[in-house]
């Protein structure tokens, strides 16, 4: 028999899926009534998710925050709550509509992880600092996730891209197409030059019981090369076209970000279902994963770009960019203190009690520090240097990307935070 909290999780899952579908229809048709149905569906998901959390707490007899499934579930719960706050405070269905895919994606990721209740916490986890540390970090991450959504909205509402009549691969689209394409040769050249005697990668594809081997090095090359190519080509392009009015870059960054996120999600599904296997124990395994994510991101990019630029979808999203910018900054201002106190301070105090040292340079700790340094820079740039609008939105997306990397980092870097 399925545990009641899992049953409620799936109830919430289907409600959020329904909400996502209804909000998609709302965005396509612009009918408010459908949007409110979408919000209601999300509310119907939020309630069982909340009840499920407390049931799980009661069953396990400890605060249910001891594995990645529970962390992601609370993150999605926080995003759903933020959706409710946005709706209550601003009455903007369109913002809620774009928070719904984040909630759903978090639920999808959580659904792929082991959901068994951990009845017995290992000694180190038996501390009230677990509650403080993980809850605050999850709430802050959920807040940053909502900030990333509003930043995404800000970027894709670039007025020039909205009014552009050009095709999806013309004009400003060239650099990103090149960027994606150039990554492979650059990366491959790098690998061949620097790591000629690289140990054979054991990455495999298992399609229909026929394993395909020998793809690991290519994936590694692509995983290293694509981001390097992307950064390199962007810098070169900006240098060449420095006299041209800078525009469209934010839009491209947003679509590329979402494409990569989808690519990584697909790669995660393939890995989880054992269709794709990364080389265990190899330091290159993260690049193998990134390589596959980039490859899967390519079709996503073209599809998303076509979706956002075809017809009148972008124009129909009559969103106030200023408001998006304000909400994005507001979520970071809400999340930053929580993240600082929860992820860093509470974690450090707990580490001192359990392991003897406030800081051990564990990969997860370094990941949290990187996130914190990044958002510190973001806030200084925004509040003191006046970085608002496109710059701020791109930084907000990058920050959320780092949150995800820090969260899933222990799959690649190991360390003391050995969650399942």
């Amino acid at each position: 028999m399925v545990s009641p909290d899992i049953w409620l999780f799936w109830w919430a899952f289907w409600c959020y899926l329904t909400s996502f579908a209804l909000f998609s229809v709302f965005l396509a048709t612009g009918k408010d009534r459908i949007g409110w149905f979408g919000a209601a569906a999300a509310g119907l998901g939020f309630l069982p998710q909340t009840v499920g959390f407390f049931i799980r707490w009661a069953i396990s007899r400890h605060y249910p925050m001891s594995n990645m499934y529970e962390y992601l579930a609370i993150m999605s719960w926080m995003a759903a709550m933020m959706m409710g706050i946005v709706l209550w405070k601003y009455r903007r269905l369109k913002i809620a509509a774009l928070i719904s895919p984040i909630i759903f994606m978090l639920m999808v990721t959580a659904s792929m992880l082991p959901k068994e209740i951990n009845m017995q916490l290992m000694p180190a986890l038996q501390s009230y600092w677990l509650t403080i540390h993980v809850t605050l970090a999850a709430i802050a991450s959920g807040s940053f996730a909502v900030g990333a959504v509003t930043s995404f909205l800000y970027l894709i509402r670039d007025p020039e891209m909205v009014s552009s009549k050009k095709g999806p691969f013309s004009g400003k689209m060239k650099p990103i197409a090149f960027t994606m394409g150039i990554g492979f040769p650059v990366g491959l050249a790098l690998i061949l030059a620097l790591f000629q005697a690289l140990p054979a990668s054991a990455a495999t594809f298992n399609l229909g019981g026929n394993p395909i081997n020998g793809i690991g090095s290519a994936l590694t090359a692509f995983g290293i090369g694509a981001p390097l190519g992307a950064i390199g080509w962007t810098l070169i392009y900006r240098r060449i076209n420095r006299t041209e009015k800078a525009s469209g870059g934010g839009y491209l960054a947003a679509v590329a970000f979402l494409s990569f996120l989808l690519g990584a999600l697909l790669a995660g599904i393939l890995t989880k279902s054992h269709i794709f296997g990364i080389t265990q124990g190899s330091p290159f395994r993260i690049f193998e994963f990134f390589g596959l994510s980039w490859i899967l991101a390519l079709p996503c990019f073209f599809l998303l770009n076509s979706f956002f630029r075809s017809g009148k979808r972008l124009a129909s999203l009559k969103l106030d960019r200023g408001l998006m910018d304000d909400i994005s900054a507001g979520t970071v201002k809400l999340g930053y203190p929580l993240y600082t106190v929860g992820a860093l301070f509470a974690g450090a105090i707990w580490a001192e009690q359990a392991w003897g040292s406030f800081w051990s340079w564990d990969p997860k700790e370094v990941g949290a520090l990187i996130v914190w340094l990044f958002y510190s820079g973001f806030l200084h740039a925004r509040l003191q240097r006046g970085w608002t609008g496109t710059k701020s939105a791109i930084l907000s997306l990058a920050g959320f990307g780092m949150i995800l990397l820090s969260f899933f980092g222990n799959y690649f870097f190991g360390g003391l935070h050995a969650y399942t």
């Binding site: 290992m122 124990g281 203190p337 301070f345 340094l373 510190s376 870097f413």
Partner: protein
């Protein structure tokens, strides 16, 4: 008169300090630290400090050679976060924060002292939130002034200015946040430079003494606690094979998974009495609930205090912290006894049973012609160590008794008898007998494990705590306290009445404040 309008040239120190205090420098440093931290994460993976850690480590060390790796280690590339250059960057950030705070704090304190800006009528009317009330009185306005706002009244040339504010301590937020960060950076550097740490352990009854330690630690007891049988545990089924409990089906029946984890695994129903969740620490460590040691602290031979040390609850004494670090499951000290062991004695030549002996620890059992059998030791879970017998645990996994055989008080031989195996000890001309354990009655065994404590003393712990507190307060003030200001410009009208020009401003939550402002105005108009 000629006046030099050029500002005096600033010294190099002043310019350097100004650069360190600049926002641009701080952002640049944060970005550099973030990038280097990302770089460090990957470097630790690709350039492992330990050549034996993994096949990749062996490969890298072989490719780059020990000299190459040592060269990389010397410049801090194998452990970048412990490298001097990384510490230098953290120190630079601390200095930058100090410069920033020292430059901005006087202004913040001045602003706190001075209160809201002294606006005139025109400036108040230029505020986004403003209103005018005519035909009012000073008393009315004073009585309706919102209580949560402080108030300062000043008489000006052509009117009166009242100004008040709420949440002005929000100004202190950024300064406190940065002071907290500075303390954290200093504390972290102190901790990394002045750490004194070592590990020592012992069995219950042992006393730990160390040269650096200003006290002695007597281990009164140590135990490992297990969870009761529950779903998800690794269990030994019927002393035969390993399984994993899935759920309790009925009161004493459990569903146990015996194959690989998954939907297609083999599942069997087993009685609770046939399941053991405490059997071998190589497999059952996931069922452990806690490691608990009770200790007494001695100073100059006097017991000062007793304490309880477990995971998450270290002992803190005289600047030292003592952690329950680990324990030694492989070499426990087992104290075991039995009441009576029934030993069958047979003749070695033809295996003819001669006698059944009732062996106890208290007295030898006599047999044959003045032969005596004595119990030398009892081992519930017998193992043969380097030259000595020991018991791996207190569980009756492999009960064995060491016996001594003598004749006329002269020791002839000594051997080990196993309850689960037939006698296979050596016989000799002097001892022409074989012995078998028929039964062991009243066997009891207590296991004592060697606990291992981690002793640690470092500097900067207090500074780090201060940093946590100051920075948390700073963050709360800076991000969650809203600073609101309220002004009234009063000027006389005819008939002794007054006219009030009222304005308000909020750093955040402007929609909410707008509603509050309108409410205040409505009340003042009544």
């Amino acid at each position: 008169m000629n006046q030099n309008t050029q500002p005096p040239p600033r010294s190099l120190t002043a310019r350097l300090w100004s650069t360190l205090a600049s926002m641009k420098f701080a952002i640049l440093l944060l970005v550099i630290l973030a990038v280097i931290s990302v770089f460090g994460l990957f470097v630790e993976e690709f350039l492992p400090d330990n050549p034996m850690a993994s096949p990749w480590s062996e490969y890298v060390w072989e490719k780059l050679g020990a000299d190459g790796m040592m060269a990389l280690r010397n410049i801090g590339l194998t452990r970048p976060f412990q490298a001097p250059w990384y510490r230098f960057l953290v120190a630079l950030l601390a200095v930058s924060i100090l410069a920033c705070v020292s430059q901005r704090l006087p202004g913040i304190l001045r602003r706190l002292k001075q209160g809201p800006a002294k606006l005139d009528k025109t400036a108040i009317l230029a505020l986004p939130l403003h209103a005018t009330i005519s035909n009012t009185t000073r008393e009315t306005l004073q009585s309706k002034w919102p209580k949560k706002f402080s108030r300062r009244e000043e008489v000006k040339e052509n009117g009166e200015l009242w100004r008040g504010e709420f949440g002005h301590y929000a100004h202190l937020g950024p300064a406190l946040t940065h002071i907290g960060m500075f303390l954290l950076a200093i504390g972290a550097m102190m901790a990394s430079l002045g750490v004194n740490t070592f590990q020592m352990g012992g069995f219950p009854g042992d006393t730990i003494m160390a040269e650096d330690l200003p006290f002695e630690l007597k281990i009164d007891s140590f135990r490992v606690e297990y969870y009761p049988l529950a779903p998800g545990q690794t269990v030994l089924v019927d002393d035969e094979f390993l399984g994993r409990t899935l759920k309790r089906i009925r009161d004493d029946i459990w569903l146990v998974e015996t194959g690989p984890h998954g939907k297609k695994s083999d599942r069997i129903e087993v009685e609770a009495s046939q399941l053991a969740n405490q059997f071998d620490r190589n497999f059952d460590s996931g069922n452990i609930r806690d490691y608990i040691a009770n200790v007494s602290v001695f100073e100059e031979g006097q017991a000062i205090r007793t304490a309880h040390i477990e995971v998450n609850h270290p002992l803190r004494h005289k600047g030292w912290r003592v952690y329950q670090s680990s324990y030694d499951p492989e070499h426990p000290r087992v104290a075991a006894r039995f009441d009576t062991a029934y030993i069958k004695v047979s003749r070695a030549a033809d295996s003819t049973a001669l006698d059944t002996l009732y062996l106890t620890f208290d007295s030898p059992a006599m047999f044959a012609d003045n032969f005596a059998l004595t119990a030398g030791g009892f081992y519930p879970d017998y193992r043969r160590g380097q030259g000595e017998d020991y018991s791996l645990s207190a569980m009756m996994n492999n009960p064995a008794i060491r016996i001594g055989i003598s004749r006329n008080d002269k020791e002839l031989s000594s051997t080990v008898l196993f309850q689960k195996f037939a006698f296979h000890g050596s016989t000799s001309e002097q001892v022409p007998f074989i012995f078998d354990i028929l039964d062991i009655e009243g066997a009891t065994a207590a296991e004592e494990l060697r606990t291992i404590f981690s002793f640690r003393r470092d500097w900067g712990g207090g500074v780090i705590w201060a940093g946590f507190i100051v920075m948390t307060i700073g963050l709360l003030l800076a991000f969650y306290l809203i600073h609101r200001r309220f002004w009234i410009w009063l000027e006389p009208e005819s008939d002794g009445k007054m006219r009030a020009v009222i304005g308000g401003e909020s750093t955040r939550g402007t929609h909410h404040f707008e509603r509050e402002f309108q409410t205040i105005i409505a009340r003042m108009k009544q």
